[in-house]
């Protein structure tokens, strides 16, 4: 187990109500977790607590496998807000340089891994939203964090941009926790889904299982994923992935 949250509560200074209420959570190594919920359900707050940017009001965050807190990288919802360097390469260099790492090799490898080597001399401000998101992910990955926390990585992206980000996440072999509004994205790219509702956890489990529970999704105000809707209409079992759904359609066609 990589991270454990025990009875975590959080209330913002200017607020009268708890934004995060009695959250218990286990984060396992190497898995991808999607936190889904409607606006104001506490997704960003929970991510910031996990990333160490907010101190919980009560409760504990434990890292059972490490003696000290591991490096956790956080990519905010609006990636361009953090950019300040002239080029993408300099932006990606910022994190390892701050940690005193040998950044030359790390930066080149990170740019390659995320698939943005061709953009390294461009200004991060002049890129498309999808490319900016990838630069933001690369600028966090270059610090070699053990856990990657991404706030709405598909925010303001079209379907093609969503898939571009999703494929990059699939390639990364580390613990990733991201928030999203898109149940389709969560179904396709997360191993496990955490459904958040009014600051507390409504359900945690495997993506396919959680996102097939219509009542839970309705209560949390989440749209039913297209693939689940399709399976329901055709009265068949929900496929475990998009690829399996394509295979099923092909079989029906044959």
């Amino acid at each position: 187990m990589k991270m454990k949250l025990e009875d975590v509560d959080f209330t913002y200074e200017e607020s009268e109500t708890k934004s995060i209420n009695d959250v218990d959570l286990y984060i396992n190594e190497g898995k991808k977790y999607a936190i889904i919920g409607r606006n104001g359900s506490g997704k960003t707050t929970l991510l910031k607590i996990m990333a160490g940017l907010l101190e919980p009001g009560s409760g504990r965050i434990l890292f059972p496998e490490s003696n000290q807190k591991p490096e956790i990288g956080f990519s905010p919802e609006d990636p361009e807000l953090g950019f300040f360097e002239r080029t993408v390469k300099e932006e990606v260099t910022f994190y390892p340089k701050n940690l005193g790492l040998d950044h030359e090799k790390i930066v080149e490898e990170t740019l390659k891994m995320v698939g943005i080597s061709h953009l390294k001399k461009k200004s991060p401000y002049l890129l498309s939203s999808g490319q900016q998101r990838l630069v933001s992910i690369a600028s966090v990955l270059s610090g070699l964090p053990e856990i990657l926390v991404l706030d709405e990585p598909t925010h303001s992206l079209h379907r093609k941009g969503e898939r571009m980000v999703g494929k990059v996440l699939n390639k990364l072999e580390r613990t990733i926790i991201f928030s999203t509004h898109s149940s389709d994205f969560a179904f396709e790219f997360a191993d496990e889904v955490i459904v958040l509702h009014e600051g507390h956890i409504l359900k945690v489990g495997k993506s396919r299982e959680v996102l097939s529970e219509i009542e839970t999704l309705k209560k949390a105000g989440i749209r039913i994923p297209g693939i689940v809707e399709w399976a329901r209409k055709n009265s068949i079992e929900v496929p475990s992935s998009l690829e399996e759904a394509v295979e099923m359609i092909k079989e029906v066609g044959d």
Binding site: E16, G73, N98
Partner: protein
């Protein structure tokens, strides 16, 4: 959605109450009356269940309050001396007059800031704009006021987001004042860029909505006085009249 009693009040009645409190805070020299004025604001805040937000808005004064207290205490020293001591080449004294003046100034500041915070936490900028326009203020001026109200929390939110983005990428702000300022460059540049971008976005949005069009301007927001508003007007006029009657007539 408007939840609290304060948020449900008409912005014009809250504006009137705030105006009366500010006028009284300026003209009242007595400590006990200033305390009553603060208590009145506090009662409204407690009824509105907004005590935490109200205090968080006033937290900016936590440095200013002791600073003002000590400065006024020694600079306005007069009357009976309680205690005096040597400070470099000066003799500083805690006097009855100095103590009264510094407490009065602090209470005056707190009553004005308190009622301003009450208004800000319970009024949407767009409601404030409509209220000013309804009170026959030039619309552009009303818009300017509401935009200023909106811009301060917007700037705060943007700066916090940038700070979080940089801190989570290993930036550590430590050392002396010069070193700390240098370390803040990764926050100041995106912050300035973000504010300039916000200005452009706002200009585009205003132009797209024909900001400069000639003719009478209407508003989507309708302001209505309720029973609570009438009571607030009554309370405001009462405290003003009672004070004037007791002290000037």
């Amino acid at each position: 959605m408007k939840e609290s009693f304060l948020e449900k009040l008409d912005p014009r009645s809250k504006l009137f109450f705030s105006f009366i409190v500010v006028i009284l805070a300026i003209i009242i020299p007595e400590i006990e009356y200033l305390i009553i004025l603060i208590l009145l604001t506090l009662i409204l805040v407690v009824f509105g269940r907004s005590i935490k937000r109200w205090l968080s808005y006033l937290s900016v004064f936590k440095i200013l309050i002791p600073l003002l207290f000590f400065l006024n205490l020694f600079f306005y020293a007069h009357g009976h001396v309680f205690y005096s001591f040597e400070f470099f080449f000066f003799t500083l004294a805690i006097t009855q007059g100095g103590l009264t003046t510094s407490v009065t100034i602090l209470l005056r500041l707190f009553s004005i800031a308190g009622v301003a915070a009450l208004f800000v936490i319970s009024t949407e900028p767009v409601e404030f704009e409509t209220a000013l326009a309804d009170l026959k203020f030039p619309w552009r001026l009303a818009f300017l006021f509401s935009l200023t109200l909106k811009l301060i929390p917007e700037m705060k939110t943007r700066y916090n987001k940038i700070e979080e983005a940089q801190l989570s990428r290993g930036l550590k702000i430590s050392g002396g004042p010069i070193r700390k300022t240098k370390k803040k460059v990764p926050m100041l540049i995106p912050f300035l860029a973000s504010i300039i971008r916000y200005g452009y976005e706002l200009t585009e949005a205003l132009e797209a909505r024909d900001f400069d069009s000639i003719g009478e301007r209407t508003s989507l927001i309708e302001l209505n006085h309720g029973t609570s508003d009438i009571l607030l007007y009554f309370l405001s006029i009462s405290i003003f009249s009672v004070y004037i009657y007791m002290n000037f007539l």
